[in-house]
């Protein structure tokens, strides 16, 4: 019976997905469940009280610091997403439409260069570039454009946005590039043949057909940036700390894992809600046009 099932089409399929499924279960589902349970418990120094309570959520709702941090996190993530996707689109467009087909893989290869070094090193490099005595400031002072170093580019939210936008650029370029590659070029000729200029052809054909890639890019950039705590820790200074830093602080420094877990759950719910809304609006917008 079992051997028969395992040799059937479905059985073989299940057999093949079961190792990654178990892996995902161990490393995704269990930690998630643990975090979820923790968020309803309380911790007193080293002892864990497992009676069900909503106190953690109550505290998050009552103390303004958490709301403010969450708001700032969402703002930073949205900004990073906007900057990244807006800058990635022209790159992907150029790559898809103006690079010779036999050179495209070389260009894609070059786009991955930032990943050749560790992320930490890249963050420190941005410090060198943006710092008080950094490349930008000394450069601008030397050419005489400014008299004293610019301070709004390091140890604040701007620095976090710049660094993250650079780090996530390839993740945004690739899905948009793939969507653009899939567009049948004769559609663009057909649009021009039917009387539309190059610009209107872009607006009526290229952009709507590239939207799935843009949606993908937005989600790929937006979701992980909410959870990032390394960049704000190193680049954000006092005013640039985000919700993820607070979660880390609760877990490690303040020994309050349940509150950290509740914060994580709240952040996760926010991201889920925003992502779903975005996808739904987009689907409706696309449907409204078709």
């Amino acid at each position: 019976m079992l051997s028969k099932f395992l040799s059937s089409e479905n059985g073989r399929g299940l057999l093949m997905v079961s190792p990654p499924f178990l892996y995902a279960l161990l490393l995704m589902a269990f930690p998630l469940i643990a975090i979820f349970l923790f968020s309803f418990w309380t911790q007193d120094f080293m002892t864990l009280d497992t009676t069900f309570t909503l106190n953690n959520y109550r505290e998050i709702a009552e103390k303004p610091i958490y709301g403010a941090l969450l708001q700032r996190s969402l703002f930073v993530s949205a900004s990073v997403t906007a900057v990244t996707v807006l800058l990635a689109f022209p790159v992907a467009y150029f790559l898809s439409f103006h690079v010779r087909p036999d050179r495209k893989s070389l260009w894609l290869f070059l786009i991955t260069i930032p990943f050749w070094t560790s992320y930490l090193i890249r963050v420190f490099l941005w410090k060198v570039i943006l710092g008080y005595n950094g490349v930008i400031n000394t450069g601008l002072i030397n050419v005489g454009l400014i008299d004293e170093p610019l301070t709004f580019i390091l140890y604040n939210v701007n620095a976090v946005i710049i660094t993250l936008a650079h780090a996530f650029a390839p993740f945004a370029i690739l899905p948009i590039f793939v969507a653009l590659e899939k567009i049948d070029r004769s559609l663009l000729e057909a649009s021009q043949d039917l009387g539309e200029s190059k610009f209107m052809t872009f607006m009526r054909i290229t952009l709507p057909l590239a939207m799935p890639g843009v949606v993908g890019a937005v989600l790929i950039v937006f979701i992980p940036t909410i959870g990032d705590y390394v960049t704000p820790e190193l680049m954000g200074g006092a005013g640039g700390k985000l919700i993820a830093n607070m979660i880390q602080t609760q877990f490690l420094a303040l020994n309050n894992a349940p509150l950290g877990a509740a914060l994580a759950i709240v952040a996760m719910l926010c991201v889920t809600a925003i992502s779903l809304t975005f996808v739904l609006i987009n689907r409706r917008w696309l449907k409204g046009r078709s």
Binding site: D184, S186, L187, E189, A190, S191, Q192, D193, L194, G195, E196, S197, M200, R204, I205, P208, L209, L286, R289, S290
Partner: protein, 361 residues
């Protein structure tokens, strides 16, 4: 008949590849014109030159008396049906058809909707407006592409191998429909095709292209009956080629044809510049015949042996060896009542007539 499109000395180079060689061509208003040729002969390039998707390296393209040199594709009075149909996948059928109407600001919405429905009715897709474009079959896509182009009432409709993606039945049906549509709307159609039968069926005139130049430009009947060269003759239909030698050119042409002997043909069966010397004679398979038992003929006969038999149902194609002819003669016979299908090796007699001979360059 007024000239609508005039191409004068058009050349097109891609790097060192000469895609169009000195094309001179006039296409008239209301004409169904075909560009016919094997793949890579430049017929699609020529069509795209008229549409404005390719610039000319040299020469002048005029449409309606206007030089098109600086007119981009979107401002030309031409519309195109693409080989892939290029139906916009994110739009419905009606939105596809209405695509080019955006700029017609003098039309209000209900008028546009009415025009779309009329265009869809014209191509036999009434009521399909709300369908998603990706849910259409190949034949339906083609009709949408036609409606989308015709709704703009262009001076010229360009068709780039529009039927090549359809199956045989559908293709034959669409051929007839396209002819009907062209008569109905009176727009000049320019069809690009590699299918000689399609070109013969549909066109008023055909330009046969080889390697970037026009080999012959004529109406279908002339093209079939009086091809001007061996390559045109072998591209259009089937043709037997026989070595020949022109002995004298007076009012008639005195010629010896291998296997058939010495005979006289009229001047219109030969190219104008015919002269004494070696030549090639062509004869179509269906103008030859096999004398079956019990049948009689007053035409000329030559002995032969059946070399190959291909049975098509309504027709049988024979290859018959005739003494003195290098290649077996290809003969097409209708399978009339009482006619047997001969076996390979059967001795037979071939009916021929010098009136169906053509001398080729």
């Amino acid at each position: 008949m007024t000239a609508l499109i005039t191409l004068t000395g058009v050349n097109k180079y891609y790097a060192d590849y000469h895609a169009l060689r000195d094309i001179n061509l006039t296409i008239n208003t209301g004409e169904f014109f075909s560009l016919l040729g094997p793949s890579g002969c430049g017929k699609t390039t020529l069509l795209r030159t008229i549409a404005g998707f390719e610039s000319v390296s040299d020469g002048v393209v005029m449409i309606g008396g206007k030089d098109m040199a600086d007119v981009p594709a979107n401002l030309r009075p031409t519309n195109m049906v693409f080989q892939s149909y290029a139906i916009f996948p994110h739009l419905t059928v009606a939105e596809n058809v209405a695509f080019g109407l955006r700029k017609s600001e003098d039309l209000d919405k209900p008028t546009k909707a009415k025009m779309v429905e009329e265009a869809l009715t014209m191509v036999g897709l009434a009521g399909y407006g709300n369908r998603a474009a990706h849910a259409l079959s190949g034949g339906q896509r083609q009709r949408v592409a036609l409606a989308r182009a015709l709704i703009l009432k262009p001076k010229v409709l360009l068709l780039d191998e529009p039927l090549s993606a359809l199956d045989k039945k559908m293709r034959e049906q669409m051929q007839v429909e396209l002819i009907r549509l062209q008569r109905q709307v009176g727009i000049t159609f320019i069809l690009v095709t590699h299918d000689q039968e399609e070109a013969l069926v549909m066109s008023d005139r055909i330009a046969v292209m080889f390697e970037g130049e026009i080999g012959q430009l004529a109406d279908p009947e002339t093209l079939y009956r009086r091809p001007n060269s061996r390559r045109v003759a072998s591209f259009i239909g089937k043709m037997n080629f026989l070595d020949a030698e022109v002995k004298a050119v007076v009012e008639e042409i005195d010629v010896t044809v291998q296997g058939l002997g010495r005979l006289k043909i009229s001047a219109e069966q030969a190219p104008e510049e015919v002269s004494v010397g070696p030549a090639v004679a062509g004869i179509r398979p269906e103008t030859l015949g096999i004398l079956f038992e019990g049948e009689t003929t007053d035409r000329k006969l030559v002995d032969g042996v059946v070399d190959e038999v291909v049975y098509y149902g309504d027709m049988t194609y024979y290859d018959v060896r005739v003494d003195g002819v290098a290649q077996p003669l290809n003969i097409a016979m209708k399978n009339l009542i009482g006619r047997p299908v001969l076996d390979v090796g059967a001795k037979t007699r071939v009916i021929w007539d010098e009136r169906s001979l053509v001398l080729l360059k």
